[in-house]
């Protein structure tokens, strides 16, 4: 047959399109023509495919070969189409069985010697193939584990083009390939936690605040002098958040698959722990939010999806970056528009910001060591704008630890209920409680619930909210602050395992809320 096809997948962001690769062989002088919107790396496929076929005992036809990547209007990039192009050519020249070659999706880059090399983005590609009704995929051997994460797909891992050709019926000696069936693996909770909440000495209030934050999905701002444990606390937030569900893990793993250096094979397994991303404050807008040149690439906020994004020294970040966080904080996703197309990346992360109390870091206690002027201090915190802080429910001021905490710890006085394991159990139960309460609404955790709904449907008893009402009346509390207190009070009640809000929940909420501004 002079025209034949094979299938592959083109990714723009996480969205994949099935690409039909048509090869035509016409009786004309040898030439290799590749059409259908290839980028530079893909245009080089011509030379890789030719060399790979010739060095595998599968000659390139000595005629004019035209390869079309269809639909031609979808932009395509990278080296992942090599295998499909080679198979389409072999099929058109009658070396392999046409129906077999056309029914499998092929992903992988070719080496000049005919070996198949791993590529990035395998997980989203296989997911896209399944979504569009193609359930047979051939992937590079090194990507096999990653591809098998997708349930209901038959996957084959191949290490050379000769193996794939032989699988499709070519007369060439190669190892025979065995299909495996994709299955969503059980998430192993066996991850060896090297960090634990029990590592933290003292700071009971802060640990409790983190637990409340974890229960309600509240974003946090931690303010305290250097060395007080802001980073330690933030790093341990993922250890007390509920276990990732299989769906959450698959979604985040797919994003991470896009940016993994393929040859490292790091995404081979499903993400088992919640991601924790801590960019430095010199990070650029596109590295954080997402960018890419012609093709959209996810940023750190998407890599932190279903996990924690920690901004240490938050006021030092560029203002546009902090402002750009507002939209994804609101919608849980981010749209990146590039010439190749518009990509949607999930970005449902929990934000933890840390800040020193002032630029020199000594404005605490009696503030004796502080050399900052009032205006410097104000300028420092003015970087954190009102609209951004509006989305941060918890604003905590941390005090340096006390000597008694240290000596207690030295004597081995284990704090009860302090291990990440124990806190996580309570947090998970608390989340379940709030989910039940919010069943039938569009929200799943307390942080998402707007004030109007809270005041209308989830308003605690008037005697309980009395301190809040008083503060509101006296102008000590804004309406927005009032709502934040209600949200936090519900999270506190959920964490404690209560079905209603008590006065102590309100008291804690007032404490955690901090002031309406950034300066506490």
């Amino acid at each position: 047959m002079a025209v034949a096809k094979a299938l592959s997948v083109s990714l723009v962001g996480l969205a994949g399109t099935i690409i039909e690769i048509e090869a035509e062989i016409s009786s004309n002088l040898p030439a290799f023509i590749l059409i259908g919107l290839p980028d530079a790396a893909l245009a080089e496929a011509k030379d890789r495919v030719r060399a790979a076929l010739q060095n595998s005992g599968l000659a390139m036809p000595s005629r004019r070969v035209t390869v079309n990547l269809s639909p031609a209007s979808v932009p395509k990039r990278g080296s992942g189409f090599d295998v499909a192009i080679a198979i389409a050519i072999l099929s058109a020249s009658g070396r392999v069985e046409v129906p077999s070659a056309a029914s499998w999706v092929h992903l992988g880059e070719l080496g000049l010697d005919g070996s198949i090399r791993p590529i990035s983005g395998i997980l989203p590609s296989v997911l896209a193939a399944r979504q569009q009704g193609f359930d047979k995929v051939i992937v590079p051997e090194q990507n096999l584990d990653e591809a098998s994460l997708v349930d209901g797909v038959t996957v084959i891992g191949a290490s050379s083009i000769a193996e794939v050709a032989a699988f499709h019926g070519a007369k060439v000696t190669a190892r025979s390939l065995q299909p495996t069936h994709g299955r969503t693996p059980q998430l192993e909770s066996s991850h060896e936690a090297t960090i634990d909440m029990a590592d933290i000495i003292g700071q009971d209030e802060a640990v409790h605040a983190l637990a409340v934050a974890a229960t309600g999905g509240h974003h946090l701002l931690l303010v305290g002098p250097p060395g007080v444990g802001k980073t330690m606390l933030a790093e341990r937030l993922p250890t007390i958040l509920p276990q990732l569900t299989a769906e959450e893990s698959l979604e985040t793993s797919a994003i991470r698959s896009l940016v993994t250096m393929a040859n490292l094979g790091a995404v081979a397994k499903l993400l088992a722990v919640r991601p924790f991303e801590a960019p430095h404050h010199s990070a650029s807008l596109s590295s954080l939010i997402g960018g890419g040149q012609a093709f959209p690439r996810p940023g750190l906020i998407s890599l932190a999806n279903h996990g924690v994004l920690f901004l240490d020294e938050a006021p030092e970040f560029q203002r546009p970056i902090l402002e750009a966080l507002r939209q994804p904080l609101e919608s849980g996703e981010v749209f990146i528009n590039r010439t190749a197309g518009l990509a949607r990346f999930p970005a449902r992360f929990q934000l933890v910001m840390a800040a020193n109390p002032c630029p020199c870091g000594n404005y605490f206690g009696s503030a004796r060591g502080c050399t900052c002027s009032v205006s410097t201090r104000m300028a420092y915190f003015s970087k954190l704008s009102g609209p951004l802080l509006d989305r941060v429910d918890i604003r905590m001021r941390l005090q340096p630890g006390k000597a008694t905490d240290v000596s207690l710890a030295n004597y081995g006085a284990k704090q009860i209920g302090r291990s990440s394991h124990e806190i996580r159990a309570k947090v998970t139960a608390g989340r379940e409680r709030s989910r039940r309460r919010l069943a039938g609404t569009q929200w799943s955790n307390n942080a998402q619930v707007p004030g109007s709904f809270l005041r209308e449907h989830l308003r605690p008893n008037r005697s309980v909210t009395k301190p809040l009402d008083l503060a509101l009346e006296r102008g000590l509390l804004s309406m927005r602050g009032y709502d934040r207190c209600l949200r936090l009070a519900w999270s506190s009640a959920d964490l404690a395992g209560r079905e209603s809000v008590l006065p102590e929940d309100i008291a804690l909420a007032i404490n955690l809320r901090g002031s309406d501004g950034a300066m506490l």
């Binding site: 009786s27 004309n28 002088l29 040898p30 000595s62 005629r63």
Partner: protein, 117 residues
Amino acid sequence: MNLRQNLGRYGEERAAGYLVERGYEIIDKNWHSSSGEIDLVARDKNLLVFVEVKTRSGAGFGHPFEAITKEKVSRMRRLAAEWLAAKQVFGLQVRLDAIAVLVSGGRVYIEHLKEVF
């Protein structure tokens, strides 16, 4: 005449024989001008065929056709025009062909590509 030229001549003869067997009439061979050479000019009724012959022994350096580059094809077109002008031939259709002669293990394989552009 060295070995390589010898092989070339042999290939051209085999190609000419191949065309004659298929009813072509050979009307010129190895026609020179200042810009190059036409290996064969053959005639099939009202069709004038200019043929580039490539001969190889063994496929170690690739298929003979791979040696016919774009530049070579455009030179053939130019030469064909020169030939027509020199011979004062008008009113015939013209076609460019390529013939590969592969000599390998005591056997000769001939491939004929018509209308190579």
